[in-house]
Every structure is written in structure tokens, then in C-alpha cells.
Amino acid sequence: MKPKLSSLSVGISNNLPACFQQCACISKKNYKFPEILERDLEESIVKGSGPGGQSVNKTSNCVVLLHKPSGIVVKCHHTRSLAKNREIARELLEEKLDESINGKNSYLAQVMQEKRDKKLKAKQKTKKKYQLLSAQKDMVQDKEDLISELETVDPESNQTDNTGMETIDKKTDKQT
């Protein structure tokens, strides 16, 4: 008995309207993988041609799956369970076939693209943030410069007043 392939449902995430595109995350449930027929598959599990079953105890549960029409071969020894390896081999084959047929629009390519977009967005966000921060800093710096400028100007004007007052005092003193 061959394990079932992932069930397909219609709907490709590319055609969503713009308002939804920001939150659209591609997932296997939404993506339509190319169809794989069981009769096109040739599976070989390295077990030898002996009687098998109870009479043998082998730990080699490696599955090699060949898809005859496309010639894609997938080798899977991800787990210790043969049943699970067969299932995973079929999933890997699906993804590989999808990649070879759809190229840029394949599931894996789209996942990579989403990751890249996310990263880019995050980068742009931080860039903006730092730009804003540095702009604020500049503003604050400008303000401080201005204040310090004003402070350097004021004492001079005070001095002139003083001298003015002194002269007046002197004058008044003289007058009196």
C-alpha cells in the first residue's frame, strides 16, 4: 500500500488582491502541487530479496523514489520508521517536481521569496527608524547650536549696556 500524497486544494496565493497581500502567507494547504500518479512512481527499499517479514531484522529503512515521467530521483532516510520515510520521500518528490515544473513560481521558491521580502521589509523599517532618529538628532543638535549661539551673543550686549550705564552713572555722578 502506498502512502497518500498530500491532499490538494485549489487556490494559488499569487492572485490575491493587494489589500490582502501583506498578510498572505503561502502554505501547503493553499498551494496546488503538480499531480503525481502512483503508477508513475518506482520505489526501491534496500531490503534485499530474501523472505523478509519475521525472518529478517534489518535496520536499513532507506527509500529511493523514482518518478518515471520526469526522471526525478529522491532518496530519503530521515527517520527510523520505513513508513514515515516513504511518506517523507513522496513529499520531497512533490516539492522537487514542483520546482522543476514551476521554477520561480514553485512552492519552495515562493517561500524563499516571502522570507526575502520579510527580511527586506524589516531592513527598510530599521533603516527608516534610524533615519528618523538621526534626523531628530540633527534637529536637536541644530537647536543646541542655536541656543549656544544666542548665549555667546547675549553677554556682549550686556557688556555694552554696562558700559553705557557706567557712563551714565559717571555722567550723573559728574552731574551731581
Binding site: M1, P3, K4, E43, I45, V46, K47, S49, P51, G52, G53, Q54, S55, V56, N57, K58, T59, S60, N61, H77, H78, T79, R80, S81, L82, A83, K84, R86
Partner: protein
């Protein structure tokens, strides 16, 4: 490149020239290939050239060329501790008579298990193995060298996505049995009208565990003649918290009392079994792993391998509901005999529905239904 072992090149050269007396100009590549094949590392090109008196005829240039080409490729991968250990263990197991691929896999699984991983590719190859772990690896390797099955050495194995605890002499679940479970699951789907099932000869409890976990509305009765098997079954079911839905009976299925007791729990929607089906005469031809460590009672099917199956056929109508199913894993080329037994001895109560093939494309499972 750093090589570990010392190597007596003179001796090698002498031996080589002795065996190749007819050959006046032995080819460098053959010589270096022989050295590498027998895993004798060469320290450097200069030492090789200096000691190769028997190969004075070969120009030095081609010598260096072959040295660089073959020695680098061969030894770069064995330059760290984890890989070296794996290679050492593989060789050790091969020396004991274990087949090449199985040796390599045993070594890899043992190392991975001690390092806390399930598969070798998950182990960080550049990691240093601490002394305690090294000791444990060596202990497990010792057990494996005595031809103990790897699953007993590690104490566990995977059945679908479940990790099943194993101990000798309880029978190790085979990959074919995983497939049988898949057939059953596909047949039942999500049909909740199926309420109860019986497993005859539950062994480690892997089948019952898998079915109960994937069919959460069902209840089970599991029966085995071996006390060890029943204890292990209870332990494995408890691990995955399905023990409350199962009754484990340590009984001899062939005794009428047992049938009486089981029928009080029934009738069942289906019975699933991986009964002993090996011919008694073939038992001694089996691999030492199976012969020495696994329970003979779980394997011995009598003269034609079908003793237990015949008993099941006789007794199933008493335990099954109407249209209840009997799922069996069998030996090869036993299905015709089983079908005959059903047609002749089940008094019209059972019907042979179909045979199903395993992943080696041979008939391994049969489906029988109560009429």
C-alpha cells in the same frame, strides 16, 4: 593533513614486489590504491618516495600526482572524532560478520542514540564526545558485536511516529507490520461505528499503540502468551496515554478459557494479528540476531507455518461481529493455503476477501471477513 597510524612502507613495498614479481613496472596508482583500500595511511609523499625502492622505475611526478589525488580524497572525511569512531565501529561489526550496510547503520545509530539524537545526520560531526558517552558507546557496541539486534541494544525503535520500547525476547516490530497498520487505517478512515478491536499476539504493543492513537474513539483488547510482552505492551501504551482504552491479557490464545474470556470483551469490529508464520525447519537458518535473541514462540508457525493461522480461522467467527474483519500478516506463498483452509474449515462463516502486497511487491497481508 594529519594521519594517525604509523605505517611500515618498507614491508608494504616488499610484500607488493613479492606478489607482483611478474610485473616489472607496477603502476603507482595501483600501489597507492592498495594502500588506501587496506586503510593504511601514508605520512607524506616524500616518505613514500623514499621508501619505495621497488618502484624506482616510476617517475616522481606521477607519484606525487597520484598521492595528492587519492590520499587527500580518502582521508579528509575521517579527520574528526565522530566520523573516526563511526568508521571504527563499522569495521568492528564487519569483523564479527555483520553485513556492510548494517554495520555502518548500527555504528551510526548507536552513536546518534548516545548523543541524544535519533539519526546520525542530526549529530554535530565537529563535536567532541565526552568520556562518559564514549564509554556508553563502547558498551553498546560490545553488545551489538555479540549479534544482539540493534533495536535491543538501543532499547527502542520507531514504529510510524511512535517510539516503542523494546527488550529481548519480545519480537521487534517489522516494517511490514507498519504497512499492515496503514491498510487497516485506510480501511477504517474516520468511521466511528467501529468501536472495538482485538490484537492477537501483541508483542511490544506497537500495533495496538498505533491504532489506538490514530483512532481515538476505539477500545482494544491485546493478548499475548508471553508475560514480558504484556508488560512491555502496557508500558508502551502508557507512554502515549492510551492504556486506559486497552485491556492487556497475558493468556495462551489457543486455550478455550482464553477464548471465553476474550469473547466477554467482544464481539469485535476487527481482529488484527501478526502470528508466528515461519516454518519450524527454517528457524535455524535465520540470522543470529533473530535466532538467538527473539522469542521462538513468536516465530514458530509449525510444519507449514500455519498452525496459529488455522487456529485463528477456527476461532474468529466466535469473536467477530457480523461482517467483522480479520487482518493478517503472513509469510510468503501462504495465501493459497489460507484460502483453502477458509473454504474447507470455516463452515461457511468466513470469506477470503483479498491479498495485499508489501513494499517488496510480494503478497504479505490478507483480509478475511466474517459473513
Amino acid at each position: 593533513m594529519i594521519f594517525r597510524q604509523c605505517f611500515n612502507l618498507d614491508l608494504a613495498c616488499q610484500n607488493y614486489s613479492k606478489t607482483n614479481l611478474t610485473c616489472q613496472k607496477p603502476h603507482v596508482s595501483t600501489f597507492t590504491f592498495d594502500l588506501i583500500k587496506h586503510k593504511r595511511p601514508i605520512n607524506n609523499e616524500r616518505e613514500l618516495a623514499r621508501n619505495m625502492k621497488c618502484l624506482l622505475n616510476i617517475p616522481r611526478i606521477s607519484l606525487n600526482h597520484y598521492m595528492k589525488r587519492y590520499s587527500v580524497r580518502q582521508f579528509r572525511s575521517i579527520s574528526n572524532e565522530v566520523n573516526q569512531l563511526s568508521a571504527d565501529l563499522t569495521r568492528k561489526f564487519q569483523n564479527v560478520g555483520i553485513e556492510k550496510t548494517e554495520s555502518r547503520l548500527s555504528a551510526e545509530f548507536i552513536i546518534a542514540h548516545v548523543m541524544g539524537k535519533k539519526m546520525f545526520y542530526q549529530v554535530s560531526k565537529s563535536a567532541k564526545i565526552p568520556g562518559t558517552q564514549l564509554k556508553e558507546i563502547k558498551e553498546l557496541a560490545e553488545k551489538r558485536s555479540e549479534r544482539m539486534p540493534l533495536q535491543y541494544v538501543l532499547g527502542e525503535w520507531d514504529f510510524h511516529e511512535f517510539t516503542v520500547k523494546l527488550a529481548p525476547p519480545v519480537l521487534i516490530p517489522r516494517p511490514e507490520t507498519e504497512e499492515l497498520v496503514q491498510f487497516v487505517l485506510e480501511d477504517i478512515g474516520q468511521d466511528e461505528t467501529f468501536q472495538k478491536f482485538l490484537e492477537v499476539g501483541c508483542g511490544s504493543g506497537a500495533v495496538t499503540l498505533c491504532l489506538l492513537s490514530k483512532l481515538p474513539w476505539m477500545k482494544a483488547v491485546a493478548c499475548d502468551i508471553s508475560k514480558d510482552a504484556c508488560n512491555l505492551t502496557i508500558e508502551n501504551l502508557s507512554r502515549y496515554h492510551v492504556d486506559k482504552r486497552a485491556s492487556v491479557l497475558n493468556r495462551d490464545f489457543k486455550s478455550p478459557d482464553t477464548i471465553q474470556l476474550i469473547s466477554e470483551h467482544g464481539p469485535f469490529d476487527f481482529i488484527i494479528s501478526n502470528p508466528p508464520y515461519i516454518l519450524t525447519a527454517h528457524l535455524d537458518d535465520l540470522d543470529p540476531e533473530v535466532k538467538k535473541y527473539e522469542d521462538r514462540l513468536a516465530l514458530d508457525g509449525g510444519q507449514d507455518g500455519l498452525d496459529f493461522v488455522r487456529h485463528l480461522i477456527a476461532v474468529s467467527p466466535l469473536l467477530l461481529k457480523k461482517e467483522g474483519k480479520l487482518w493478517l500478516e503472513t509469510g510468503l506463498e501462504q495465501h493459497n493455503l489460507i484460502e483453502n483452509a477458509i473454504n474447507n474449515h470455516s463452515v461457511g462463516q468466513l470469506k477470503y476477501i483479498k491479498s495485499m502486497k508489501d513494499f517488496t511487491n510480494r503478497e504479505r497481508f490478507c483480509l478475511i471477513q466474517k459473513v
